[in-house]
Symmetry: C2
Subunit: 372 residues, 2 copies
């Protein structure tokens, strides 16, 4: 095989495909648990400081042979993305805003000293993987193929400098709806002890290191009867994120305006692609104010007391939106109004419907790319 090798990027035109001989079939879609089932193939591209990027390969999914001294195992030299492919009524596979994921992944590799690449070349390679795996996109509302682009530093060396070897790869997990028929809006535990991100830290990039510290605090919140943590920052308890999601609040603000507000991207907030989509859609409606700003728990408590809280929801790739019904904060429990008989507030529901219509190709939109 001849290919183009460059220090700067890998190229779609060098992509080779080796299909698995023994392919698994998509398991019954009702049995899927998020993140546990993988499709038959993966995309893999190797890099070394000495020779640059190799050619991208789609190959049968396989374990990595990683030296026990590989930097990714010691210093969290790792970053990732979450995207989804959908199959709509026309039967065509579609990907949602994958260009934005690739832009964000480029920021992440730069934050870690891992190798940069061209976002369009990477996107085209992933789209080819999705086309090959289209039988693994379960059909039906709420079903999708979760895509996990990842870059790891694989050099076998336990000094703390940047890795001189890396692997860019993508695995795919078929997954079911986040909202089952038994779904209930979640309760968030506003954690005043554990802090996810902080000014000057890495919270604004999608790095593996941002997730390690959240596992145990989330378990503790679960034991208190809360599904997710509401992460806070600072002595004034600024609202940050909800679990692994961005957070949105619909309220009547202190100026008496109906406002959808989400924390601004000040470096501590993950620039969520669902977040960005919701802001764009809601601004397009022009029916209420849409703000990226600063929100403190005191403001939320005051809004509750003055009956100005309307809806609260998390936003992320896994769920699109996740309605919140209560926030536990110190000695208070803040109740969020919900539609009678529904687990969704009306604006939350409308945003969910709008985003998913685009994702499944029911509504034509530049964000949803049908792969032919």
């Amino acid at each position: 095989m001849t290919g183009t090798f460059s220090k700067d990027t890998f190229y779609f035109k060098d992509l080779t495909i080796t299909e698995a001989v023994n392919k698994a079939s998509l398991p019954p879609k009702e049995s899927l648990s998020f993140g546990a089932t993988f499709s038959n193939h993966m995309l893999e591209v190797k890099w070394s400081a000495a020779t640059g990027w190799g050619a991208p390969k789609i190959v049968p999914i396989h374990p990595f042979e990683l030296h026990p001294g590989a930097k990714v195992l010691h210093y969290a030299s790792e970053c990732f993305e979450g995207a989804k492919a959908y199959k709509g009524p026309d039967g065509k596979p579609r990907v949602f805003r994958l260009d934005k994921n690739m832009q964000r992944l480029k920021n992440s590799v730069c934050a870690l000293g891992l190798p940069d690449f061209d976002e369009n070349e990477a996107r085209k390679c992933i789209e080819e993987l999705v086309k090959l795996e289209q039988d693994f996109i379960p059909e039906g509302n709420g079903y999708s193929l979760y895509l996990r682009p990842t870059v790891i530093g694989s050099e076998a060396n336990v000094n703390t400098t940047a890795s001189s070897e890396a692997i860019f790869y993508v695995v795919c997990c078929p997954c079911g709806p986040y909202f089952s028929s038994k779904f209930e809006a979640v309760r968030l535990y506003a954690d005043t002890k554990h802090v996810r991100a902080w000014p000057g830290g890495t919270g604004g990039s999608k790095l593996g290191s941002n997730y390690a510290g959240g596992v145990v605090p989330t378990k503790l919140a679960n034991q208190k009867g809360y599904q997710q943590i509401l992460w806070l920052i600072g002595d004034d308890h600024q609202v940050s994120e909800a679990g692994t999601m961005n957070i949105f609040i619909l309220w009547v603000n202190e100026q008496g305006e109906l406002e959808l507000i989400t924390p601004e991207l000040d470096g501590t907030i993950l620039p969520g692609i669902t977040r960005d989509s919701i802001i764009t859609i809601a601004k397009g409606w022009g029916e209420f104010k849409v703000t990226e700003g600063r929100i403190t728990m005191d403001q939320i408590l005051k809004a509750e007391k003055e009956n100005r809280l309307r809806e609260v929801f998390g936003a992320g790739t896994a769920c699109v939106v996740c309605p919140v019904k209560q926030i536990g904060f110190m000695d208070s429990v803040i109740d969020i109004p919900l539609e009678p008989g529904s687990e969704f507030g009306p604006v939350t529901q409308r945003i969910f419907d709008e985003v998913t219509s685009i994702q499944y190709g029911k509504k034509q939109h530049i964000w949803s790319t049908a792969l032919e």
Copy 2:
């Protein structure tokens, strides 16, 4: 093989040893670069939530077969230790305070939702590995075998809950002296932009995630002519750590007392074992005040202006102590006095001599265990 299997720990009595058939020899010791050369064997113990810990095994060093969806590659489900084995004038291998490393590793696994274990069983297994690898402990002042106990979450699942599978392992790197004949005291760049640790975060545990964000800022500091970062916290620029080391300052404090001060363990500071050793030794001398407290850059600037700064050094396993000659902070460069013609201040040198005498068994001490 029959062994004891328990959910709670693994046992030294179940340890098996499989020696490598083709053993590499220790490379010429002058050629060793920290963290790049590994010895012939590793210790490995597997755990799963379903069956608990398996039996510990010393086996030829080998790559792990890790699923590309393994949690360690996505969510930094990883923690580690750094310890050293030395060969002193009596030719016996010795380990320095390995019991403390195992206590700290237990804290780390608990912080990540990884499995706990018995620290003494782990220590005894590692000592057995050191005995087997004693030909890989290079002899001579400054030479040692660096030990890297590590625990990773290996479950193939990209949901963000705790890993249901894990591997405890130890690899060994022969390494040379940190201080070559050309060694110069280092310059620290007091970074006001990037922040390593923060209240409510994980900076007080030795997790892989604490290191990911430091690679690029350190490279930027290197480009400015500084060897390491002096990490700061908060609007008042509290001194935190120096690169991957704890920091110590010897000064005449504002009360006119000669004082060795290091940041207190408030959850943002790694509880270094070298740090603890230095505090204990210096307190034992009883010649100056030894304080774990809070230090701000303003206090350091004031001390410099009033000629009260005596010595500054980093402390860690790799170097024991690392003298500092300058700190760059905003528009200032703070000069630290050094002995004429020396790169070490006198107290820094004395601490180095004392700790290394114990490590090499030249001075008998409970911290240094000779392995028979």
